[in-house]
């Protein structure tokens, strides 16, 4: 990739597209940015960092009780054991779902999200409907995802107002006894680690 990979017809360039390109050109010409660094940043978050990282963390927690204990006690260190750390994941807290408690993560004020384990957030996570309703009507939000929890389940919503980042550890689905971590990880969906979904059924 080069710094200017806009391969469309020029008439299709939107106003924002044009402004972004103009600014990138100015910054490159002035030597403030190295286009190769930009490409590397994009590649990192488009290809390398994503919810597969978090799925590995969750699967390991499901399979390895000692790891689970470390994760719940100090998620930042336990997650770093697997090589995931850094930007927007400097301080991570793992939230355990139980039969009586379901955790959901939101950032009402902006879009805070645990990048090293989940990648960049989806559009809905950053949207006004999610940010406005997750704290006041989480069951209504879950319904938007097709999920209904028992009426008595405690719903605990975590609003990411500081640099703390939250990762939900969903409950391990029944029928997966004896599965290896790699296979378990395939059950862990992104949404189940935000709290708007449940893991896949085996």
């Amino acid at each position: 990739m080069t710094g200017h990979d806009h391969h469309h017809d020029h008439s299709e360039l939107t106003e924002t597209q044009l402004r972004v390109r103009a600014l990138e050109t100015v910054l490159t010409e002035k030597g403030y940015v190295d286009p190769a660094a930009l490409d590397l940043l994009i590649e990192t978050y488009e290809k390398k960092v994503g919810p597969r990282n978090g799925a590995r963390v969750v699967a390991k927690a499901w399979a390895d009780p000692a790891y689970r204990a470390r994760l719940v006690k100090d998620a930042t260190s336990a997650i770093a054991e697997l090589g995931y750390a850094g930007r927007q994941g400097e301080h991570i807290v793992a939230l355990e779902n139980t039969p009586n408690r379901h955790n959901m993560v939101v950032c009402t004020l902006c879009s805070c999200y645990p990048w090293p384990v989940l990648g960049l957030p989806p559009v809905w996570y950053k949207s006004a409907p999610y940010r406005s309703r997750a704290v006041s009507d989480p069951r209504g939000v879950l319904k938007d995802f097709g999920i209904t929890l028992p009426a008595g389940t405690e719903i605990r919503v975590w609003d990411s107002t500081s640099e703390n980042r939250y990762l939900v550890i969903p409950m391990r689905p029944a029928g997966t006894e004896g599965w290896i971590e790699e296979r378990l990880a395939e059950l862990v969906t992104r949404d189940s680690m935000i709290g708007t979904g449940l893991p896949k059924q085996p």
Binding site: I42, L109, P138
Partner: protein, 219 residues
Amino acid sequence: MNGAQDMGGVHGFGPVEPEPNEPVFHAGWEKRAFALTLAMAMPGQWNIDMSRFARENRDPGEYLSMSYYQIWFAALETMLKERDLVSDDETVAGHALREPKPVARILSPGAVAQVLYRGGPTERETNTTPAFKPGDHVRAKNINPRTHTRLPRYVRGHAGTIERVIGFHVFPDSNAQGAGENPQWLYTVCFDGRELWGADGDPTLTVSVDAWEPYLVPA
């Protein structure tokens, strides 16, 4: 500030609409806007709290009419202009028109992985002790600053319980204004849903926020 970004509890935005197989970026310019924002933090010398304030500090109608990366990009433009790194006429021309202002360093491709891995930890050393401990009852102060704060409107004035002492962290309310990191003790505070939303609220709901000590008083 009580801007459009402070959305907790606002009605009328409609359903959440997850997009099947959503791509990481929805257009080429989104990738560039994202990467430029990350890359310019190094020569621009701004901190994340300043970035957040630059994003939220706009007319609420405008905020709500913009897409996510449009807001990022607009904030980037604002910060570059404020620091005399890029001027309006250069943005219009799409080219550099004057000598670059000297900057300490820029992000090199070789440093990207390390910079991302290191991130920007906000915990700081201290020899002070936290005023609250888990289980303590606290009340979020009623504050309405025009400047950046991370205390959402929907918890202000409400009583909760300290759930966790997180540590001693950079205080965004100061940091966003360039008034120094002014680190403070940071807590996770748990609120009952009915405390926040009234007697008719969902009795199974609890909401936790991370709150710095200056946001809290004993309840």
